[in-house]
Amino acid sequence: MTDTVLPAWALLPASLLLILGGICTLLGSVGLLRMKRFYDRMHPPSMGNTLGAGCVLIASMLISSALAHRPVIHELLITVFIVTTSPITAMLVMRAALHRQIARRDPPGKTDSG
């Protein structure tokens, strides 16, 4: 737990952002588990990658700035990496899935559950 007392202007928004980010990430992964077809499963995890990660990173920026008594923005680096890399993975997985489906000659509407 935090030992030092942090100012309220950092704690209040950081708490709200952490709760929001946690909910977004959880919903994204629950969607990954719940959806019936593979192409539907592609969509929910990008919730965690965008809003979930964004909220937690902003919260981390606020807390580390308050701890260091100066603006600390190195979390922006992770934001840049996530924003540029997670769509690339999603696109490649999508293309791989399409490629494998064509290779197996599945009917397009086949429910891929089980």
Binding site: N49, H74, V83
Partner: protein
Amino acid sequence: MKRTPWLLIIGLTLMWLLLTGSASPGQLLLGVAVSTLMTLGFRAVRPLHPHLRRPLSALRLFFRVAVDILKSNVAVARIVLGLTGKREVHSGFVDIPLELRDPHALATLATIVTSTPGTVWADLSSDDHVLTLHVLDLRDPQVTRDIIKHRYEHLLREIFE
């Protein structure tokens, strides 16, 4: 004579300073040196150079994308929780004919579309004309087409072409 990519050099230097966590003159000099060498060295490998025509439009695009990501996060959250009322949610593929030709603009569009929850870039036909998207909540293919064309493609053509 090729133009020097100033924005890339400045961006890489900023990244260096953030990584080292200090803004002392020595680190600044080292960062500028490394990023200039990297940029000039790798320029021979990449034959294509982007031309950012209107930086202010890029800012507008950024805010538009941020708002759209927030909105579609809420929409996808409702679908995951099953809060869509009695409506059945159908997903499917949409074909969208594009007029964008610039590779950097196409790459930006791919990143925007894929990082927005609810749509994933699936394919771009090899003659660069038809884009295939997978949409989670597909109500009317024409609506999706209009959103991509009017909300993003127009602005991207303004910025890059």
